[in-house]
């Protein structure tokens, strides 16, 4: 099972790939929208990427609660 740090690092690569955010900025306490300037379309793409990369399903109603990098990592840990 991947550690929190491993999931964060993989997620950081994905966010970098989709939205061009430097990987070192993608830390657990950062908000996707407010801190990393990820817009709604990029966010959808990141979540689609997470589903593929981590083998999880993220329903739309759930995705609205994933505001920070930490929220997403915790969801992936709990569901993968």
């Amino acid at each position: 099972m991947a550690t929190t740090e491993e999931i964060r690092a993989q997620l950081a690569e994905l966010v970098n790939d989709v939205a061009g955010v430097p990987v070192e900025d993608v830390q657990l306490d950062k908000s996707f929208v407010d801190d990393l300037d990820v817009d709604s379309l990029a966010m959808v793409e990141i979540l689609v990427g997470c589903e593929e990369k981590f083998g999880v399903t993220i329903p739309d109603e759930e995705s609205k609660n994933l505001k920070t990098v930490g929220d997403a990592v915790a969801y992936i840990e709990a569901h993968s």
């Binding site: 379309l41 959808v44 593929e52």
Partner: protein, 331 residues
Amino acid sequence: MTEIKASTGPKYARILSVGSAVPSKVIDNEHLLQYIESSEEWITQRTGIKERRWIAEDESIETLSLAAAEQAIERAGISVDQIDAVILSTISHYHQTPALAPQLATKLGIPDAAAYDISAACAGFSYGVAQAEALVRSGQARHVLLIAGETISEITDLTDRGTAFLFGDGAGAVVVGPSETNGIGPVVWGSDGSQAGTIWQTTDWHTAVEQGTWPKLGMDGRAVFKWATGFIAQAAKKCLDEAGLTPDDLDVFIPHQANDRITDTLLRYLKLPEKVVVARTIRQFGNNSAATIPMAMAELLESGQAKSGQTALIIGFGAGLVYSGQVITLP
């Protein structure tokens, strides 16, 4: 048992020519700000669209379709009596019956052609190419004129800040005919009716008549974006696989022009080499539903960015939900 003769046709088919037509009214993003609370920057950043074309009073789906078709027939270098079938792909001919294709055929001087409309929204052109290819190769038609014509401006909800800026009008047409070598790869297509409510006509005709309202086009943009960047990316890859090709074999990529950001994602997923020319006509034409792919094809060839004989991947996706794609040789 009585033996019924079966039709037989040429081994291969290809697209012989392409034509296109755009209406005269140029609508920039600023024009739309009178209807919706948004900004030019927001629209461009989210979609890539800078302007789109809308029909003027003397223009219609019929005039655009005829203009595109005339160009395609002339460029194919065939006479009209060599065309045995005319297919119009549209979701914006607001006259349920008769279909528009027979009238187009007659106005184009094509005698006694099989003629019918198909409704496969933004996948309609690729659906039509699959049908045309099958008709030619099975010997059911010597040449097929496939037209994609749309006037989505007439059902655009100008008060919807999620879609008001997306759509434009236009038409594209191709002639498909026999070929010595294969110019149309296997189609990869399908549908998912459980997502009928993702892109839809906001009121059915019964309700519209009762209420005296004109239907609009509704769309759940987030769901479409998710589907297009996930499922459709995989379908695009399958089009290459089915044609026995790799991304390196490709010269041109013409995805349905729904959103520049979707195109960006498809490129990332497919890992297409730098040399591949990518259609971005959404920037000047917006989303023209079925017509985007032939319009983009014509634009790329006319501007010299793409050349006849090059290998292109086309894929359309939209209301249904439906999708369809194949690899083709450019005319």
